[in-house]
């Protein structure tokens, strides 16, 4: 009979109308500024640079190898290498980025930079409230704005960060062993007292220690 | 002659004059509609509710829309150049002459001197009774005609529909 389908459809909307008052399943809206969705660990927005320790400049893991700059599909990363060197996360003396800019208005959040980075220096942030009044200045993130601490990294991607820290600690231990061996060899060879151990310059990662 | 009548008369006249003098065909129809509406209001003012409202329903709701449709479907919704009416002066003279003649005749005939009957109360009922008694035959004929037209329209419409597909 004419109208049956229409009546069925109207019952369906009535069911949803009433259902939206009783069931959270149906009313999925999240009232954004007041309530927010639970943080999803794998989520990603834009890249940031990880640093260890308290000083973002000293602890910067990036060694400005420029692989991410090369691999970035939309070419939104700009890096200038430093002339001098500083010890990196595992204690090797390395260059550091003098300039490291990411234009997040160009970035497409693909996280290929993260995948190709051999130093675990660049990771994906979850910050999404990045509105700016100035399209060029506001969205062109420089080194300082990009730098976020390792603790922050642990907070947003705990599983991943723990794995990274474990790998880094292993590297560092290897590096230290190597350096000690080298130092011992040097000491044995020259029999001269070695003053400063390079390991003192290594910023310690508190999170790793806490875990250990 | 009350103020209301005066206003309505002016509105009606303005509408009708505009309907004749405006360049754009659609504007003419809209102005004519104003004239119709003014006329309906005059009927209402004379307490002839049924006639007034029927005037509104039929003329404003029907005839005007029909005219508009006719104009729209037969392209000429664009303004046309004013047709060569160089005789408008002559026309005015003739119209005035006819008006004066008629007015004079009416004046002479003594219609104005007759006393008006009181306005009928509840016009609808009277009209209904009149239609159903004195004018039953014309009413039925008109009804039959309209029914035939309606049936014909439906037949034409269905024939077209099934013939296409």
């Amino acid at each position: 009979m004419l109208g049956r389908g229409i009546v069925e459809g109207m019952l369906e909307t009535a069911r949803n109308f009433l259902g939206s008052y009783v069931s959270r399943e149906r009313l999925t809206t999240v009232q954004y500024p007041e309530e927010r969705l639970a943080h999803i660990e794998n989520a990603r927005s834009f890249p940031f640079l990880v640093y260890d320790g308290a000083d973002w400049q000293a602890g910067m893991r990036c060694v400005s190898c420029q692989i991410c700059e090369k691999e970035c599909p939309p070419k939104c990363i700009y890096i200038e290498k430093s002339v001098d060197k500083k010890p990196d996360a595992v204690g090797r003396p390395q260059n550091y980025p003098k300039v490291f800019n990411i234009d997040v208005s160009v970035c497409m959040s693909c996280q290929i930079c993260v995948e190709v980075c051999p130093f675990d220096a660049i990771k994906m942030d979850v910050e999404y409230e990045l509105g700016a009044h100035d399209r060029f200045g506001g969205l062109l993130l420089d080194k300082q704005r990009l730098s976020k601490s390792n603790e922050y990294y642990h907070r947003i991607h705990p599983t991943e960060a723990a794995a990274v820290d474990a790998a880094l600690a292993e590297e560092r231990a290897k590096m230290q062993a190597k350096q000690q061996a080298a130092a011992a060899a040097a000491a044995a060879k020259a029999a001269a007292p070695v003053a400063a151990t390079p390991s003192a310059a290594i910023p310690s990662a508190p999170a790793t220690e806490g875990k250990a | 002659m009350t103020i209301g009548f005066l206003i309505l008369a002016i509105v009606t006249m303005a509408g009708v004059v505009a309907a004749m003098s405006m360049r754009h065909l659609i504007h003419c129809v809209l102005a004519l509609t104003l004239g119709f509406a003014g006329l309906a209001m005059l009927y209402l003012q004379l307490e002839a509710q049924f006639v007034g409202l029927t005037q509104l329903l039929v003329y404003v709701g029907g005839v005007a829309i029909l005219a508009v449709f006719a104009i729209m479907t037969t392209h000429s919704s664009e303004p046309v150049a004013r047709p060569g009416t160089s005789y408008w002066l002559g026309g005015c003279v003739v119209a005035t002459a006819v008006f004066i003649l008629l007015a004079h005749a009416i004046e002479k005939s003594g219609v104005g001197a007759r006393t008006m009957p009181a306005a009928p109360v509840g016009g609808v009922k009277e009209i209904g009774v009149a239609l159903m008694s004195g004018y039953i035959l014309p009413l039925e004929i008109v009804g039959l005609l309209l029914t035939a037209a309606l049936v014909g329209a439906v037949v034409v419409a269905t024939g077209e529909g099934s013939g296409k597909r």
Binding site: L2, G19 | Q49, K164
Partner: protein, 394 residues
């Protein structure tokens, strides 16, 4: 009981009290002005509430919250909308016919307001008691078509022209079944006066009121009237004239700012007016649904019924997709019109058959059988529609 009567008649009393301050010569005018202002204020408020109700209701039907930011629970949303409409720039297309473009929304709103002149909102609360009230309503409704045409034509846009053509064709087509559905009531009531029609329904047998909707012909007439009213007020599923997915916004595509708001007001006022007419004709106007509920003021009942009908409109809008132009016409001329004619016959029989269950049976059968037959044979586009079965490869 006297207190109930006092509450019921408080607006009438207030009106008299206020008018008493005016010199006797001006009293009719003052009374009229007072009435008109009241109607405008009340129905504009109701319009705002309806918009809010619609947005909230649609939201809930679609599992959303609906507006909930302006004021507590979003109740000030219509105010915000109104302010926005007023302060927005009024853009008129260069090629538009400016005078007509301006007059169209005004005409629509004026016509929509005129409709309320004959609606009895409560006992003794109609602005005017015309003895051709029903006719007045339809005469005024037909003026809206002209406004729609003016809007569509004056905008000089192809989409608006489409919208106007659709709107006029649709409104003319649905005016006929609407009038015929109303005629059934007029036949039984024997009057065109809305006040009289309501008074006839405001009597009771036991607890049951004598509403026309509680008869076979009345129920059919009510349904047909409401369907036609939906089309008359361009509401979904008959919202082809604005068909936003096809012709963008139809006849008011080139309107912005307050003129657009006027169209909006006009549409809702039209919807409310036709609902009010349906209440008057079939749902007993201001009368209580049960005799024991008469303590509630009559105007209260009227508005309760009105809001209920508006909710029905909103519900339909939240559910149904839109018809197509040819289907719309088919539906009007090949289904609604025959049904209204059949209903007229049923009404006539009801009037002259003796009271009793036979009357119910005959009249009921007379409307149900054609409904089933017409519904089965309704010809949407040269063939019938049906749910299909599907086969699967392997």
């Amino acid at each position: 009981m006297t207190r109930a009567v006092a509450v019921d008649q408080m607006f009438v009393t207030l009106n008299h009290a206020l008018v008493a301050y005016v010199p006797a010569v001006w009293r009719p005018l003052a009374s009229a002005v007072l009435g008109v202002v009241t109607v405008m204020v009340v129905f504009l408020t109701l319009f705002a509430l309806t918009v809010l109700l619609e947005r909230k209701g649609l939201g809930r039907m679609q599992n959303r919250y609906g507006p909930n930011r302006v004021g507590p629970w979003g109740i000030l949303q219509p105010v915000a909308d109104g302010i926005k409409a007023i302060i927005k720039e009024d853009v008129v297309p260069q090629s538009a016919d400016h005078a007509v473009h301006f007059l169209a929304p005004v005409l629509i709103v004026v016509a929509a307001f005129l409709n309320y002149a004959v609606i009895p909102v409560g006992r003794g609360m109609a602005l005017t008691d015309l003895n051709a009230g029903v006719l007045f309503f339809f005469a005024i409704s037909s003026m809206v078509e002209l406004g729609v045409f003016m809007a569509g034509w004056a905008s000089r846009s192809k989409y608006s022209l489409f919208g106007a053509m659709r709107a006029i064709a649709q409104m003319i087509s649905y005016e006929v079944p609407m009038l015929l559905a109303a005629t059934a009531t007029v036949m039984v009531a024997g009057t065109l006066s809305t006040t009289r029609i309501v008074e006839m329904q405001a009597t009771y047998t036991g607890q049951i009121p004598h509403w026309f909707v509680l008869t076979p012909w009345g129920f059919t007439g009510f349904c047909l009237f409401m369907v036609a009213a939906t089309a008359e007020s361009n509401r979904s599923p008959f919202d082809l004239p604005e068909g936003e997915s096809e012709i963008v916004a139809g006849y008011f595509i080139e309107y912005s700012g307050f003129k657009f708001a006027l169209f909006f007001i006009g549409e809702y006022l039209g919807m409310m007016a036709t609902s009010a007419m349906a209440i008057t004709l079939f749902l007993g106007g201001w009368s209580a649904p049960l005799a024991c509920l008469q303590w509630f003021p009559t105007w209260g009942w009227f508005f309760v019924k009105l809001v209920a009908l508006l909710c029905g409109f909103i519900w339909m809008r939240g559910t149904l997709p839109r018809l197509r132009m040819d289907q719309l016409m088919n539906f009007s001329w090949k289904f609604l019109l025959p049904m209204t004619l059949v209903n007229l016959v049923a009404t006539g029989l009801w009037r002259f058959l003796p009271v009793g269950w036979e009357r119910w049976l005959i009249c009921g059968a007379l409307v149900v059988v054609p409904y089933a037959l017409l519904g089965r044979s309704i010809n949407w586009q040269g063939r019938k529609v049906a749910v299909r079965r599907y086969r699967y490869a392997e």
